[in-house]
Assembly symmetry: C2
DNA sequence: CCTACCGATCGGTAGG
DNA sequence: CCTACCGATCGGTAGG
């Protein structure tokens, strides 16, 4: 293995530890000292990799985004037909939110809410990622409407607003109140939304 | 004015400063040193009042809960009929979320999400407050159904799940993406939900 | 990637 | 309510 390849693997391992922390307590709780302990590296070693705490936060966001794309979006693309594709993505999304191994939760969602009223590169990047998701969901809903699989009477922007609202609220209630059936409820509501 | 009355006014002023901080950056960002500076008091003075950082957090939650009750719930109780009462509460709620003076935002909502996966008295209290809101909304929806103002075909638990999801997501998008029309959209969706 | 260090701030205490 | 202080941890740097 090349030296850079080993370096990348090391960085990825650190970012996975970062994702676990962010999923539990948010991007604000991600400190260099804590991450150094969690990943078995020295604080100065982490600085050599990331340059600043803000760059570490930004790198963690990119890692979370890649995970979401790989676990939620990509596995849904093969489904036949726009509506089935959208429903497949919802299933993947729920599995992603409820997978308590392997970083689980939703580091991006939690961080977006944490930084919603702040200024700076972290908040800006989190808003961009949200707009990316909006655009993807909108294209999926519009495609389903054009294919005649979703009623032409619905407003696609309203639909994606509600899909995101339902998913986000399900995660919140599942975590704060430990409601076991909240994801079933979410799925059912989304299905009837795009009937 | 009595000594205890003056003491209470002083505590309330400190908690209002705390609410402003929590509304912007969350309960985790509330430190004794920062609050001392913001409220013009010494750190040790704050300790004399609250005893610990955790007690300060709990007191801030109670202050936020009281504000929500006074600004959102109480002014809706006079409306005639369960459905009008519910809609009046939604209007108050939107005004509360968008009032950027006087602490604005939603300190409780942000804190609940921040602490959703943590253990301890703060998280426990935040969950209790959420269950209180659930019970109130449920009683309002059930009353409207019994009065024949909302269709008997809807599941009240689904309705309050969606109302909360829509309000929470509107706040999120309003803050992170500065969408100007997001509260109009939220209101419209809720109205059609309880048609 | 490391050890060793910097000034600032954290929650909290002593003593008044 | 205050000043003055404690040990721990913060982000970051020097030097290797």
């Amino acid at each position: 293995m090349s030296k850079t390849a080993r370096g990348q693997r090391s960085v990825d391992a650190v970012l996975d530890a970062a994702l676990e922390q962010v999923s539990r307590e948010g991007l604000d709780s991600l400190t260099i000292g804590q991450l150094a302990t969690a990943s078995g590296m020295s604080k100065a070693g982490l600085f050599a990799h990331f340059g600043s705490r803000e760059n570490l936060q930004l790198a963690t966001i990119e890692r979370a985004r890649t995970r979401f794309v790989n676990l939620v979006i990509v596995p849904s693309l093969g489904a036949s037909g726009p509506r089935v594709r959208l429903l497949k993505m919802i299933d993947n999304w729920i599995r992603y939110l409820t997978n308590l191994d392997d970083a689980g939760g939703c580091p991006l969602g939690l961080s977006q809410i944490e930084f919603a009223r702040r200024q700076g590169p972290v908040s800006t990047r989190l808003a961009e990622v949200q707009r990316e998701l909006d655009a993807l969901l909108l294209s999926m809903v519009v495609a389903a409407v054009e294919a005649g699989e979703i009623s032409k009477n619905v407003n696609p922007v309203d639909v994606i607003f509600q899909i995101e609202a339902i998913m986000s609220h399900a995660l919140f209630r599942g975590q704060l109140l430990s409601e076991p059936d909240v994801y079933t409820r979410a799925k059912t509501l989304i299905v009837s939304l795009i009937a």
